[in-house]
Amino acid sequence: MKKIVLFLTIITALVYTSCDKEEFLDQPIQGRQQLDDFFSSEQNAENFVNSIYRKVNGESWFQVNFQRQINEMATDDNWAGNTRQPRPDITGISQYNVFAGSRYFVLFWESHYIGITRANISLDRIPDVDIDEDKKARLLAEAKFLRAFFYFDLVRNFGGVPLVTSYNEILQPSINDKERSSVEEVYAFVEQDLMEAMDDLPLKSEYAAADLGRITKGAARSLLAKVYLYQEKWAEAQTMAKVVMDSGEYSLEPDFADLYKVGNAHGIESIFAIEFINNPTFTEVGGQFSITNGSRGDRGWGWGSPTSDLENAFLSEGDNIRLRSTIIKHGEPVFGDPAVTSFDGEPSENKSGRTNRKYYTPIADRPEPYARGQIPGQYMHIRLADVILMHAEAAYFNGDETSAKNSLALVRDRVELDTNMSLSGDALRDAIWKERRLELALEQHRLYDIRRQKINGVPRIASILGPNGTFVKYNTEESTDPFETTNLLEPQNSGTLFDPNIHMLWPIPPDEIQLSRGKITQNPGY
């Protein structure tokens, strides 16, 4: 026994002298920075804030962009479109045969919350970084704005959502017991974030060229105006929109056709936009929509094609300037793209043979290879015309019809449409709403607008969709559109299943209910 002890002692001694035990056992992670060391410089702090922006439109086509597109398909402006490869989790939703488990709902939900957590981490860590105080304040304000944007986007899609307001919160075990907050609580939080962000944000003109695209004071004001508008806080909405209009920072793009022109990202009308560039070294720095929305005859996937109902709305106003820059039609030339004299809308595979011109990339502007994620352009979340029409709408509901009409005229003047300055009451209201539809058509505002706009307390969507909805009636009884009435692979009565008791909100992703052990509850009807 003594010998054993002796030998063990010798071996142990050998081991402990010949090798540094700590060095052997400390194996730090390789090739990746760690959170606790990361917030050590101004550049790193800024890079982290950049990642919050990345979640505004998601990394690729599917995280958030496509849910926005599906939202458009669930209105009278868009068909699902692609009749060659219909999918229940896209086509079904557009027809209000809603599959709660659609991956697009859960990806949208998840991506927004990842953005919120990135903002929360920034707000937790950046205050301790040793940088210029103005820059620090700006970065924190950017994070706050973006957090507000994410919550606003969530609340208008899903209703009251769980409100995570700090990074520390998710490190506590109590996070598992989190429940949904009310719609009012979410809106209150969004307003608070925007108010706080506003003061520290620069004007658009104060940013260097290399920083164009960062959040501005104008963006915060505009978003706040919209948040007020959604809550029908008409007075605040009108005031806030007016501040933006009078800021001198923005003006309407003189030629409507230039709004989405490649190379015009962050143009004079743009208030909050995500820019896309072509840079093959890096994945997904370019746009998605010209492929996902493109015609199947034009190397696209054929989703989200404009309806003849939308086209008719333009025609009824005699609005050719915006029509030609909004809808491309099979067999016709593409306005602004001299290379295409007869567009292939592939009506046998596409419900309406029409394509969204705003997200179309002219042949000359297409990179080679013409690949998804590499197409230059921009996605505008808020532009001045939107704010002016918010102002018009808010003014109308405040009883300030003169201001409302002035704003309406501002937008119509650009596209050479006369404004009937004698409009009043419901007719004025309807004119403002219609103007909103035409001006912002296919920019993915429509679903939210017709959900929130009410006539005698009834949301407009309920009169547009459903078995007796105007859109459904038009398609099933009146339409003679040569494409839509012949390609019935997507049925003409799309929208007939709409039920106002269910479909004013989207379903909470079912896996979230399971993961929260039932603490997160489903919206009614799903």
């Binding site: 071996i11 920075q33 045969n97 290879p369």
Partner: protein, 1009 residues
């Protein structure tokens, strides 16, 4: 590759020559007069030797005064002087002392009766009988409590081994593999070893046995001992077999039936008639199975082994070649392994053993095309018409399906994925007998390996979103370097004949490191010239490089005592201390101890029984560690991506991984009770064991609710699982004159329950199904069996309007407002009038009531027959194929005969609901027991018939035919009841139509020189 083999073989052939003197012949028999083949005959003091042939005959040329040494395991060694005789017949005497089997126990080997722990042993003879590419396949049904789950029928697929069920929640529940004392890197598959090189496999099942391997042993340990040279004449063995394997065809609907289903789904939804397809426009359509699957895939296996040596130097060398093709035109697996070992007896005190094992594997990834071949519609042609091919390259001439399934023939054509693997394993063992009782062992084992994979993706256009605008090429090189250094000292002594004591202590280092480098470029100038598929040739603008490295280390101290008194009472005890770099400093150290006792009742003086020759009781308790969690699980790591401001790309950084600074060891505590019984001189043997295993501080990668904004999963210690089970092994071995019979039955049963949950982990969810609304199909709840299937209970099909109207809650709320006649009726468990998460209940259990194997070995004169049956009984399978294969969801194809098994007004007792495109009732969009089936099966895994014959100059010749998986008896309707996918708790019993296990037919020849 084949040339390499030839070179090896010729080298080996040159390496032995025979000297010639006087000839001695004779016959060797046992005490019953039966001939003994394989007896080693050695001319004493030389390396000149011979081995007896099948009939016990030998012939050797020796000097007149030579002495011959006859030795064979289980018999006493005899020395006989030749004295100029020409014929010497020998009768060998059984050596009872020697017969006591030696068992490898980790850092040593002792006789079986000195073991009080639970160890199953399988000898190499058994393993090599099964013509398997992988030793794990040969284990199935051979050792009680060891479950071998097939990974499907792709070349090179390595089965998953479970020792005594599941006690960890993460995917990798594979046992630790220890090859000749060297711990293999986690995740090592048994592919790495040539089954023919295996001398024995010992499976350590309880914690008392495995505790000596502490930290990495919680899923059990498989100790593999390879064959080594024996002193005596060089023995050369050659084994060759060739065979084919194929699958049973799965019959899916042809174009006519597909259209019938396609139309019915629309007609039932009142769709406009213009959207229906006209069957007259299509013929029988494409038979995708025939287009994609090859009926027979060849499989070749060749082994050559030579061993021999003198008392001072023994050597063994082997080389093997294995080639398996897949049942597709792409996909194969080739392996060349060699093994050289030399034992030098440097002095009476010092022995040095050196093993060197190079291995080359090349494989082309086998596509899992079964899934797509079954789902693609039969009305899509394989190729587009000649007239439409203008301007298209050869990858762009494939038909675009009407549903979302890629054309599998096109997929096959586009797949170019090649893998080259090389490994060199060196194992050096120095044994120093300090005194007769003390032995010092020092071992250095290391493995260097390198895997290079290359993927070329050609440019093609089949349709929008079925296209690649620009081709690309990726090359990845991963290198691993692992080493172990073990220093142990052993005291082994029998004192006063009654006290046996074996004490071991040691210090162990274990290190695994890996690094990889990957390059990607696009714009390769040619889609077809393979010489240009290199990074250097690329001309595109996208250039990407990736690379990283990582190391994980364990430092351990071990101590073990084995004490046995008078062959009656045996005590084993061990302690192991582990420190692992995977855990933060505070949770780094784990201490694992064990103790076990055995009582040999039959050795007691008072025990007198004619029938019972062996009766032994044993009991053991022990602890083990599990560090099976991401190497970097403790760290909060930053990732990077891009964004755009002002027209330029900027860097974006984010938190890509949430760490856990409180991470610590998972500890498995285990109790084992066993009895061994031998009757009629071991004609009948029985071994039965009962165990309770509790895993505490279970390691899991936890999925948090999405609203936390935590990407991916977080490593956590989540609770405790208790696993209880019984293992029974029953054997009957008897020899009549010319006939030998061996029957060995193993039966096991076990059940694992979540007995404790950390806050927030009261429910562990698994198997998220996008098709079913992203719901989790598998659930583990506190107090319940782990990994149960969860969903709605269905209560039949609505047959009429009355049934629809009466399916309400008590207050009259219609529960399924969107249902129609022919849809499934789901049970509203809580009666609240709506179907939601509160109505999800347990709908199945993937664990079998019991599983086991029956091995039958028979020998009659020169004929031998063996069979291995394996089965599981009482387990449920989630048949994921049913999500579409009877529904035609998303216009996917259905099984042939679907129109006969779905509900129609004239087929009202159908199992499956009506066909519908909108599926507003969610028949196929909700998890329900519609998808659950009984997965019990019994399978003839292997049957082999051998014929032994004599050829002059050979000791032994054997010709054999073998068939694998020829018979499967099951009610399961899927393609293969032997299913699993993903992790264990998540994946066990879930079938998503992977490549099924193939039927194999082989013909082989075994020669011993």
């Amino acid at each position: 590759m084949k040339q390499l083999v030839l070179i090896f073989i010729s080298t080996l052939c040159l390496s032995f020559t025979v000297a010639s003197q006087n000839n001695v012949t004779g016959n060797i028999t046992d005490d019953q007069g039966q001939p003994i083949p394989g007896v080693n005959i050695l001319e004493k003091g030389t390396t000149n030797g011979f081995v007896s042939d099948f009939d016990g005959n030998y012939s050797i040329s020796v000097g007149d005064n030579a002495t011959l040494v006859f030795s064979y395991i289980g018999f006493k060694t005899q020395e006989v002087a030749v004295n100029s005789r020409g014929t010497i017949n020998i009768s060998m005497v059984t050596d009872n002392e020697q017969l006591a089997e030696v068992v490898v126990i980790g850092y040593g080997a002792v006789k079986r009766d000195k073991i009080a722990t639970s160890i199953s042993s399988v000898d190499g003879e058994e393993i090599s009988k099964q013509v398997a590419s992988n030793a794990a396949e040969a284990l199935q049904g051979k050792a009680a409590g060891v479950q071998v789950l097939s990974s499907g029928g792709s070349p090179g697929a390595s089965p998953r081994i479970l020792v005594r069920g599941i006690t960890t929640v993460l995917g990798n529940a594979s046992p630790l593999i220890v090859l000749d004392g060297v711990l293999q890197a986690s995740g090592t598959s048994l592919n790495s070893i040539n089954p023919r090189d295996i001398e024995s496999m010992d499976i350590l099942k309880d914690a008392a046995a495995s505790a000596i391997y502490g930290s990495r042993a919680s899923n059990g340990v498989i100790l593999i001992t390879t064959k080594r040279g024996k002193a005596g004449k060089t023995v050369v063995n050659f084994d060759f077999n060739y065979g084919v394997q194929g699958w049973d065809k799965v019959e899916v609907a042809d174009a006519q039936e597909y259209i019938e289903v396609y139309n019915a789904r629309r007609i039932n939804d009142n769709a406009d008639p213009s959207v229906l397809l006209n069957p007259d426009d299509f013929g029988a359509g494409t038979d995708w199975w025939d287009e994609v699957v090859e009926d027979f895939a060849p499989i070749v296996n060749a082994n050559l082994r030579a061993s021999g040596g003198s008392d001072n130097i023994k050597y063994g060398a082997s080389v093997s070649f294995f080639d398996q093709q897949s049942n597709y035109s792409k996909g194969n697996y080739q392996r060349v392994t060699a093994r050289f070992n030399v034992d030098f007896k440097i002095s009476d005190k010092i022995t040095l053993k050196q093993d060197l094992t190079p291995r080359i594997e090349t494989f082309e990834n086998t596509p899992n095309l079964l899934f797509n071949s079954l789902r693609i519609d039969p009305i899509t042609p394989v190729f587009i018409p000649q007239s439409e091919r203008v301007g298209r390259n050869e990858f762009s001439i494939f038909g675009l399906s009407r549903n979302l399934v890629p054309n599998p023939v096109g997929q096959l054509a586009r797949q170019f994925a090649q893998n080259d693997f090389f490994a060199l394993v060196s194992n050096t063992q120095l044994e120093y007998k300090i005194s007769p009782d003390f032995t010092f062992n020092s071992q250095l084992g290391f493995t260097v390996s390198s895997l290079t994979w290359e993927v070329f993706n050609p440019e093609y256009f089949i349709g929008p979103n079925r296209q690649r605008e620009i081709n690309n090429y990726t090359k990845n090189v991963t290198q691993n370097f692992n080493y172990v250094i073990n220093n142990t000292i052993t005291f082994d002594k029998t004192i006063n004949e009654k006290h046996y004591l074996n004490v071991l202590g040691g210090i162990l280092f274990d290190s695994e490191s890996t690094n990889y480098l990957r390059g990607f470029r696009d714009g390769i100038p040619s889609n077809t010239n393979q010489n240009l598929w290199q990074l250097d040739a690329a001309e595109g603008e996208t250039v990407r490089a990736f690379g990283n490295e990582g190391t994980q280390n364990i430092l351990s101290g071990v101590f073990r005592t084995i004490y046995s008194f008078d062959n009656r009472y045996t005590l084993n005890a061990s302690v192991r201390v582990d420190q692992s770099s995977r855990f933060p400093k505070d949770g780094r150290t784990g201490i694992f101890s064990s103790v076990s006792l055995a009582w040999d009742i039959d050795s007691e003086d008072w025990f007198k029984s004619e029938a019972i020759n062996n009766l032994r009781l044993k009991i053991g308790v022990g602890e083990l560690g599990n560090q099976n969690i991401s190497r970097d699980g403790q760290f909060f790591a930053i990732g990077s991506d891009s964004f755009v401001f002002g027209g330029e790309r900027v860097v974006s950084n984010f938190l890509s991984q949430f760490g856990n600074t409180n991470l610590q060891w998972e500890t498995v505590r285990d109790k084992n009770f066993g009895v061994d019984l031998g009757l009629f001189n071991n004609e009948i043997t029985l071994s039965a064991e009962y165990y309770v295993k509790t895993s505490e501080d279970l390691l899991n990668q936890v999925l948090l609710p999405n609203f936390t904004g935590v990407p991916g999963t977080v490593a956590q210690n989540v609770g405790s699982i208790e696993s209880k089970g019984i293992d029974i092994a029953l054997g009957y071995n008897k020899k009549w004159n010319d006939f030998t019979l061996g029957l060995n039955l193993t039966l096991s049963s076990n059940e694992s329950t979540l007995v404790e949950a950390a806050p927030g982990n009261e429910v562990i969810l698994g198997q998220r199904r996008p098709t079913l609304g992203n719901r989790f199909v598998k659930i583990t709840e506190l107090g319940e069996i782990v990994g149960l299937f969860q969903g709605y209970k269905n209560d039949g099909i609505f047959q009429n309007q009355t049934e629809l109207n009466s399916h309400t809650s008590e207050d009259g709320t219609i529960i399924q407002p969107n249902a129609q006649i022919g849809d499934l009726r789901f049970v509203d468990q809580n009666g609240d009038g709506q179907l939601d998460d509160e109505d999800l209940v347990t709908i199945g259990n993937p664990f079998p009531d019991f599983f086991g194997g029956l091995n039958v070995n028979m020998q009659y004169k020169k004929l031998d027959l063996s069979m291995q049956w394996y089965g599981t009984f009482g387990n449920d399978v989630y048949n994921g194929n049913l999500e579409y294969i009877r529904a035609g969801t998303q216009n996917l194809n259905v099984l042939a005969g679907t129109t006969d098994v779905v509900w129609t007004p004239t087929n009202t007792d159908a199992r499956f609901p009506r066909l519908t495109e909108l599926d507003r009732n969610g028949n196929y969009q909700n998890p329900s027991d519609l998808f659950i089936e009984d997965g019990s099966y019994l399978r003839l895994r292997n049957i082999q018939l051998g014929y032994n014959f004599n050829v002059k100059g050979f000791q032994r010749c054997r010709l054999y035919v073998s068939g694998q998986n020829l018979i499967t008896i099951t009610d399961y309707s899927g393609f293969d009841p032997e299913v699993q996918s993903g992790g264990i708790i998540n994946g066990l019993g879930v079938d998503f139509g992977r490549n099924p296990v193939a039927k194999t037919y082989l013909l082989g020849l075994n020669l011993t020189l």
